[in-house]
Amino acid sequence: MTLLAALGAFTLGLLAAIGRVTIFAADTVSHFLRPPFYGREFAVALLNIGWLSLPVVGLTAIFTGAALALQIYAGGARFNAEAVVPQIVAIGMVRELGPVLVGLMIAARVTSSIAAEIATMKVTEQIDALVTLSTHPMKYLTVPRVLAALITVPLLVAVGDIIGIFGGYAVATGTLGFNASAYIRNTVDFLEPLDVISSLVKGAVFGFLAALMGCYFGMNSGRGAQGVGRATKSSVEAAAVLILAANFVLTGVFFSL
């Protein structure tokens, strides 16, 4: 009976949490098209989430693409299929590794930063101050960040895909003996528009989830340094899990149906 009660309490708690996040997401989206808009905050968010994430995204992608080429070459050699390196690197980076790794790097870099910043604002009463100054915290803090992530993360994914493919190209042509022009031709010929579209859509969804989790946990932070720390940790965990779950769903939608 105690076990059942615990299970019931856990289920109810989980459903309540899902409900709160869903309402928060719907509230955020509903403010996208309703003024006032805070252009300066949006521009700062574009810079922080997009431009300043480029180095970490680029480094992650190039090493992943390079390692992928080595793995495919070594694995393909077991059944004389070394020649598929360009195609598998391209499809692997564009369909899966590019969006997922960029999403996870954004969760680590951006979600944590947003959650810590907003949670600190809450603890220091800056959010209450915003309200007393006739400024809606959702419009001023959440909407610019979520909208910026929604726009910039697909672009980061596109850049990550290209750099990842270049990483594979560099290793394949530099150490594995592939012909450069043939590698590029195979890559371009093999990729389909749906691969690229799925990559960009995944980027948009992952960006939305990453920024939303940062804002949600920041806004609902507990008191003190411990509250800020817990909000930051929880936001990254939630963003990472949601990104991976969404990736599974989107992959199913794009390629299995």
Binding site: V44, A129, T132, L133, S134
Partner: protein
């Protein structure tokens, strides 16, 4: 006039406000005193709508709070937060002029900056502070910037939450004097929360003591010392002996 009638607020099983009744006449300075955790800040936040009260009514000039145009309602208020609550990412002048750059009180940028610098001057800060970030200022300077922000739009009602907490006695005296001067010259209605009895005597026209979720005593500051309420007398003298438990 601000009027609280039988206002109650609980957080779970913690019944913070158990029926607060309080009148703050227009143009007067009311100071609310009471021990830590007695609900002073909650009462203040209920008036502003930052916290929703469970029952009872709160009216400002006869109009219930929480109804009507929220922007217009909040435009009547200014607030100095305990830790100043300045926005870290904005320059000092942008903090002061925050309300003047958006909403119903929006002004052009240059005009808003001029007003901000004038308000900074009013609280004793020089114009060169205007382009600094809050983190570059001392605690006392941050309080002054917070005060400048609270008065920037010349509100009818100003709230001060622990205005001298964390300040040395001299800076606390400066802040107390500024509050008194500003409230007097603006003709504003003021509500202050503090534990600092020096502040009480400097700022208040009237005081109210909040204890156990209710107003224990209220009256003019001149009557405070002669009041026969044992809770109030214990608080004024700071004695550990009396009806208020020292360990809570």
């Amino acid at each position: 006039m601000i009027q609280l009638s039988n206002v109650k607020k609980s957080f779970g099983n913690n019944h913070v406000l158990r029926g607060v009744n309080l009148d703050i006449p227009r143009g007067t300075s009311m100071v609310i005193i009471g021990g830590s955790g007695t609900g002073k800040s909650v009462a203040l936040k209920c008036i502003l709508g930052l916290v929703t009260h469970d029952s009872g009514t709160i009216t400002v000039d006869g109009q219930p709070t929480g109804k009507g145009d929220r922007d217009a309602f909040l435009a009547r208020f200014g607030m100095l937060f305990q830790g100043a609550a300045l926005f870290d990412s904005l320059k000092v002048w942008e903090n002061v002029a925050f309300r003047l750059r958006r909403g119903s009180l929006k002004r052009p940028k240059d005009e808003a900056r001029d007003i901000a610098i004038e308000k900074l001057r009013r609280v004793g800060l020089t114009p060169d502070v205007a382009d600094r970030l809050p983190a570059e200022l001392s605690g006392g300077m941050q309080k002054r910037v917070g005060l400048a922000r609270a008065i920037a739009a010349e509100p009818e009602i100003i709230f001060f939450d622990e205005p001298t907490t964390g300040l040395d006695p001299i800076m606390a005296g400066v802040i107390n004097d500024l509050i008194r001067e500003i409230v007097t010259e603006m003709g504003a209605t003021a509500m202050t929360i503090t534990h600092d009895m020096t502040s009480v005597r400097a700022i208040a026209d009237n005081i109210a003591m909040l204890h156990d979720g209710k107003i224990r005593w209220t009256g003019p500051v001149a009557d405070m010392d002669s009041a026969d309420d044992p809770h109030l007398q214990q608080f004024i003298t700071g004695s550990p002996d009396g009806p208020i438990e020292a360990v809570r």
